[in-house]
C-alpha cells in the first residue's frame, strides 16, 4: 500500500518533471487503441490503453486523481512495445512519457528490504558490470553442464517459480564458457572487397547467454566486407534500467558506452538486439539536457544500425548466395526494432533472398509477443496470454522456423513452442544465425 505522503510526493514530482506539452499533445482521438496489445487482451479496457495511460499521467499531474495501486498497475501492465507511437498521427512520444512516469513512481516506492537489495544487486551491481555478468553466466553454464540442471528439473524446484520462468529455464541456450568470452579477439578483418568498418555493440545478454549469435554477427559482417572492432569497456545498454525507472543509472551507462565507441573510427555501430538498439538510439534523448554529452550522444546515435539494416545497405543479399533446405519460414518483429528503430523491411528482404525458403508473413507479426524485456517475469499472466494468441498465428503460417531479431523475443518464441508442444517440429532462431547457416549451406 502507498501512504498518503508517498502519493503526495509522487504527485509533486509529476507536476515538476512530466513533460506537460507532450501530455497535451495527445488529442485523445483513440487511433492508437487498436494497436495496443493490452487493450485488446483486456477486452477493450480503456484503463489499459495508451490513451487511458496518458490520461492517467495527466490526471495525476493535474491533481484530478492520486497515483494509487490501480494507476501503477496500469503502467506496469504496459509492455512498452511502443506500437501506439507508430500509429499516432499526433506524434505523441509515449515511450518517453512512460519512462518518466515509471521513474518517478520507482523513486518513491518503499520496497521491502529483500526486494530493494535484489533490485540494487541487479541494477547497480550486476548489469553495469560485464565481469560480474560473465561470472553469473558462467555459473549458469556450470549449472547446465554439470548435470545439475537435470537434477533441479527432476526435483521440480522450478515449479516454485511462475510457469513462464520455469519454461524459460528449459529453453535457455547452452551458455559458453567464461574463457571463451574472454579470449575472443577485439579485431576481425574483412573478407573479399573491403566495404566498411563496423564497431560491434555486444550487449550484456547477447555477449553472455547468446555469445554464439554475437560471433555469427561478426562472421556475417566480415563476409560482407567489413572490418569489425569490438571496443573495450562497453557494457549493457541500460534499457532494463530505463524501462524500470532507474534512469540515473541508465544515463551513467550511456555515457560509458558513448565513450567506449567514440574513437573507434567505425562507419557503423552495429547491434543485433532490437531491445538494445532501441535504447541506444535514444541516447540523444536520454542525455539531451547534459551539455557535455548531448552532442557526443547525437554522434553515437547517427552511426547506430541494426545488423539487418547494415547487411541490406551493403547489399550482402545480392552479393552472396544464401541457400537452405526447403522450409516455410516466418518472422516475428521485435517491437523495439520495428517501432523505435523502424527496421522491419530489411529482415524480411534478407529472409526472402534465401533460396529454398518459402517466406510466409504471419498475421500480426508486428505486435508484441509478450516478452518485452523482463515483462514475462514481472507480469507472467498477461505475457502468457499474449504469447498463446501469438502462437495461434504462428501455427497458421505452417512455418517450421520462426525468425526473430532480439534475444527476448527469441526466448519467448521458444517458450511458445514448448507450450504448444512443438519442440522438434518447430524451431526459433535469431536471424543472424539463420543467415550464417544459409551462407554455409
Amino acid at each position: 500500500m502507498m501512504t498518503e505522503t508517498e502519493k503526495k510526493a509522487i504527485q509533486n514530482d509529476f507536476k515538476e518533471q512530466m513533460d506537460y506539452d507532450e501530455l497535451l499533445n495527445c488529442m485523445r482521438c483513440g487511433f492508437c487503441l487498436p494497436s495496443c496489445p493490452t487493450y485488446i487482451e483486456t477486452d477493450q479496457q480503456e484503463l489499459y490503453s495508451p490513451r487511458g495511460r496518458i490520461a492517467l499521467m495527466k490526471g495525476i499531474t493535474d491533481g484530478v486523481i492520486e497515483p494509487d495501486e490501480e494507476v501503477t498497475h496500469s503502467l506496469d501492465l504496459c509492455l512498452g512495445c511502443r506500437a501506439c507511437e507508430t500509429v499516432c498521427p499526433s506524434g505523441v512520444k509515449y515511450g518517453h512519457l512512460l519512462e518518466d512516469a515509471r521513474s518517478i513512481i520507482q523513486s518513491h516506492k518503499k520496497q521491502s528490504v529483500p526486494v530493494k537489495m535484489l533490485r540494487r544487486g541487479i541494477f547497480d551491481e550486476l548489469f553495469p558490470n560485464q565481469n560480474r555478468l560473465e561470472h553469473v553466466t558462467s555459473l549458469l553454464g556450470f549449472y547446465q553442464r554439470s548435470g545439475l540442471s537435470k537434477v533441479v528439473r527432476k526435483v521440480g524446484f522450478m515449479n516454485l517459480f511462475p510457469e513462464s520462468m520455469a519454461t524459460m529455464e528449459r529453453v535457455l541456450p547452452e551458455v559458453p564458457k567464461r574463457k571463451e568470452i574472454r579470449e575472443r579477439p577485439r579485431y576481425f578483418e574483412h573478407e573479399g572487397e573491403r566495404q566498411a568498418t563496423c564497431a560491434m555493440f555486444t550487449g550484456c545478454l547477447m555477449d553472455t547467454v547468446f555469445f554464439t549469435t554475437n560471433n555469427a554477427t561478426i562472421r556475417l559482417l566480415q563476409k560482407a566486407g567489413c572490418d569489425v572492432l569490438v571496443p573495450e569497456n562497453q557494457l549493457c545498454c541500460g534499457a532494463l534500467h530505463g524501462h524500470n525507472g532507474e534512469l540515473e543509472r541508465a544515463k551513467q551507462m550511456a555515457k560509458q558506452n558513448i565513450a567506449a565507441f567514440e574513437h573507434s573510427g567505425a562507419d557503423y555501430i552495429v547491434t543485433n538486439a532490437g531491445g538494445c538498439g532501441a535504447f541506444l538510439i535514444e541516447y540523444d534523448h536520454l542525455l539531451a539536457d547534459d551539455p557535455e554529452w548531448a552532442d557526443r550522444a547525437k554522434n553515437f546515435v547517427s552511426k547506430l544500425k541494426d545488423i539487418s539494416a547494415v547487411l541490406v545497405t551493403l547489399e550482402f543479399h545480392k552479393t552472396h548466395r544464401l541457400k537452405l533446405p526447403q522450409q516455410t519460414v516466418t518472422y516475428q518483429d521485435s517491437c523495439h526494432l520495428r517501432n523505435v528503430m523502424h527496421t522491419y523491411e530489411e529482415p524480411r528482404l534478407l529472409l526472402q533472398s534465401i533460396e529454398g525458403i518459402h517466406f510466409e508473413e504471419m498475421e500480426g507479426a508486428n505486435t508484441c509477443c509478450g516478452s518485452a524485456g523482463d515483462y514475462n517475469i514481472v507480469e507472467p499472466e498477461m505475457a502468457m496470454q499474449i504469447l498463446d494468441h501469438k502462437m495461434e498465428q504462428v501455427v497458421k503460417t505452417d512455418a517450421k522456423t520462426i525468425v526473430t531479431a532480439n534475444p527476448g523475443c527469441l526466448l519467448e518464441m521458444k517458450v511458445g513452442i514448448e507450450r504448444k508442444h512443438r519442440t522438434g517440429s518447430m524451431r526459433a532462431v535469431h536471424i543472424v544465425d539463420l543467415l550464417l547457416e544459409a551462407l554455409d549451406g
Binding site: M27, C29, F31
Partner: protein, 477 residues
C-alpha cells in the same frame, strides 16, 4: 466527495447495477472512472460515478429503468471520439459501454442489409461487406476506431458524403432502449415505410439524449466497379474553393472531394511520409468511382476544370495502393494537426456548396482579425469545412479570442445559408449557439420531444440543450 445521503443512494444504485449486469461488468475505481471522464474534445473533463457494460438490449433497458427511477444521469459511450464533448459525463452518473455488444448479427445478401450491435467498429462493417462485393459508404475519418452506435447518434459523415450521403441515409431500422425501461423497434428492412412518424430518423443524430441504440440494420449498396483518385494543387485557397463549386455546377458528383490547406498538408506529411505536396497553399483530393469509362471521362473533365480554375498541377494516383494511402492519410488530418500546438480546437461549419469559396475566404479573414492560427481541411464537396484553431488552452487571453473567432465563423456560416455543425454534433460545445440555427420556436419543438421521451432528463444531460444560450446580437460583428 459524497455526502452521507448520496453515499446511500450510490450504494443502492451500485447494488441494482450489479444485480443486472454482474459485478465484473461495473467499475467504480478512481482510475477506471478517470479514463472515461473525457472524449476527443479539448478542455472538457468530468468524472462519472460508475462505468457499466451491459451485455444485451434487455440488460441495457433494465439499467436505464433503474437510473430513471433513481434519477441518475446516463451517458452512452462508444469509442469516445466525438468532438463536441458529447460523452463527457458533465453531471456525474453512469457511463454505459458497448464492449459486450459488439457483434455483427447478420449480413442479408438478398435484402442487401447488415444488422449489427452498436459497439461494432465502423471499419469492421466496411471490411465485412466489401469482402462480399458490397459497400457501406459512410466513412468518417475515425472509422478505424469509432463505433456504429456513435456514428448513428452523431449522424456522422465522411469522405463519401457528397455522392453517397451520410450515416442517416443508410440506417433502415433501430432497436432502442428508452429511459422508461422499454425496448422499441423502428423501421425495418424496407425501402418504403410510412407507418407512423419516422422514429428511426428521430434517434439518428440524437446524441444519446433520447434513448440508447441497442441494434441497427443498415442499408448496403453494390461496390462500385472501379475508382480513380487525383490531387489538384493550388497556390490560391479561393481558387480551390471555386473549383469545388464549378465541378458540381458542371453536373459531376465525385465520390470524394476533400480540401486540405498547407498547414494540414505539412502536418499529415510529417506523420504519413507519403510524398504529399507541402509547397502549395491547398490541395483538393478528388475520387470518382463507378464503371471504368465513366470514371475516366469524369476524372478527365474534373482535371480540366481544376486547371481552368488555376490549379498549378493535377496529379493522378498511380495505383489503387497509392490512392488508398492518400485516403488513409487524409483521415489522420485532425490528429496530425494536433502535433503542431498543445490544443487543437476544430469546428464544423457547413455552407451550401456554392458558397464554399466565400467561406474559405471568411475563415482566413477572421483568423487574421483575431490574430489566430486557423488551418482548414474538410469535406469541401459537402460544403463541410473544419477550420481548426491551433492554440494553447493555458493561454486564457488567446482562448478568449478563439471563442470570438468561432462565434464569428458560426455567424458567417449561418449568414451564407449554412449551419453550425455539419457532422460533429451539438453536444456541450455548440449547445449555447443552437438557437442561432433553430430559433426559439424550433428549440421548443425539440424540448417537447425530449420531455415526452426522457421526462426526468437522465439521458446525456448538459448536451444539445444549453442551460444558457449565447445571444446572437451580443457576438455579431
Amino acid at each position: 466527495m459524497f455526502s452521507a445521503n448520496e453515499k446511500k443512494k450510490f450504494g443502492k444504485l451500485k447494488k441494482g447495477l450489479i444485480d443486472i449486469v454482474g459485478s465484473e461488468n461495473i467499475d467504480d475505481s478512481t482510475s477506471g472512472r478517470l479514463v472515461y471522464s473525457y472524449d476527443a474534445t479539448p478542455n472538457y473533463q468530468s468524472l462519472p460515478d460508475v462505468i457499466v457494460a451491459p451485455g444485451s438490449a434487455e440488460e441495457m433497458a433494465a439499467v436505464l429503468k433503474l437510473c430513471n427511477d433513481m434519477e441518475t444521469p446516463v451517458y452512452a459511450r462508444g469509442s469516445g471520439t466525438n468532438l463536441c464533448a458529447d460523452t463527457c459525463p458533465l453531471k456525474g452518473g453512469v457511463v454505459l459501454l458497448f464492449k459486450r455488444m459488439n457483434q455483427i448479427l447478420e449480413l442479408d445478401k438478398e435484402n442487401l442489409t447488415i444488422t449489427v450491435q452498436p459497439g461494432v467498429i465502423t471499419k469492421e462493417i466496411c471490411d465485412c461487406v466489401e469482402a462480399q462485393g458490397l459497400f457501406y459508404p459512410p466513412d468518417p475519418g475515425s472509422m478505424a476506431i469509432a463505433t456504429i452506435g456513435g456514428n448513428i447518434s452523431e449522424n456522422s459523415g465522411g469522405l463519401h458524403g457528397l455522392k453517397y450521403g451520410v450515416t442517416r441515409d443508410y440506417v433502415l431500422a433501430l432497436q432502442v432502449a428508452l429511459p422508461n425501461g422499454k425496448l422499441i423497434r423502428t423501421g425495418g428492412k424496407l425501402t418504403k415505410d410510412v407507418a407512423g412518424y419516422d422514429l428511426t430518423r428521430l434517434f439518428i443524430g440524437s446524441e444519446g439524449t433520447l434513448g440508447v441504440i441497442t441494434e441497427a440494420t443498415l442499408k448496403l449498396i453494390p461496390k462500385p466497379e472501379s475508382q480513380k483518385t487525383i490531387l489538384a494543387l493550388y497556390q490560391d485557397l479561393e481558387a480551390a474553393g471555386r473549383s469545388v463549386s464549378s465541378i458540381i455546377a458542371n453536373k459531376m458528383i465525385p465520390a470524394t472531394l476533400e480540401f486540405l490547406d498547407q498547414d494540414t498538408l505539412k502536418a499529415v506529411e510529417g506523420f504519413a511520409h507519403i510524398g504529399l505536396p507541402t509547397n502549395v497553399q491547398a490541395i483538393l483530393l478528388i475520387v470518382q468511382d463507378g464503371p471504368a469509362e465513366i470514371v475516366d471521362r469524369d476524372i478527365q473533365r474534373i482535371a480540366e476544370i481544376c486547371r481552368e480554375q488555376q490549379a498549378v498541377d493535377v496529379q493522378l494516383a498511380a495505383s489503387e495502393e497509392e490512392a488508398q494511402k492518400l485516403a488513409t492519410a487524409r483521415r489522420t488530418a485532425l490528429s496530425a494537426l494536433a502535433r503542431l500546438k498543445p490544443t487543437t480546437i476544430l469546428e464544423d461549419a457547413t455552407v451550401p456548396r456554392s458558397e464554399i469559396a466565400k467561406m474559405v475566404r471568411a475563415i482566413a479573414d477572421i483568423a487574421q482579425k483575431y490574430d489566430l492560427r486557423i488551418s482548414t481541411f474538410g469535406h469541401a464537396g459537402d460544403g463541410n469545412l473544419h477550420p481548426t484553431c491551433l492554440t494553447d488552452a493555458r493561454n486564457t487571453e488567446e482562448m478568449e479570442r478563439v471563442e470570438k473567432a468561432f462565434a464569428e465563423i458560426f455567424e458567417k456560416a449561418i449568414e451564407l445559408g449554412g449551419t453550425l455543425t455539419g457532422e460533429h454534433g451539438v453536444g456541450a460545445t455548440k449547445a449555447p449557439y443552437l438557437k442561432w440555427k433553430l430559433g426559439e420556436a424550433g428549440l421548443e419543438v425539440m424540448r417537447g420531444i425530449k420531455q415526452s421521451i426522457d421526462p426526468k432528463g437522465i439521458m446525456n444531460p448538459g448536451k444539445v440543450f444549453a442551460d444558457v444560450s449565447i445571444e446572437r446580437e451580443a457576438t455579431a460583428k
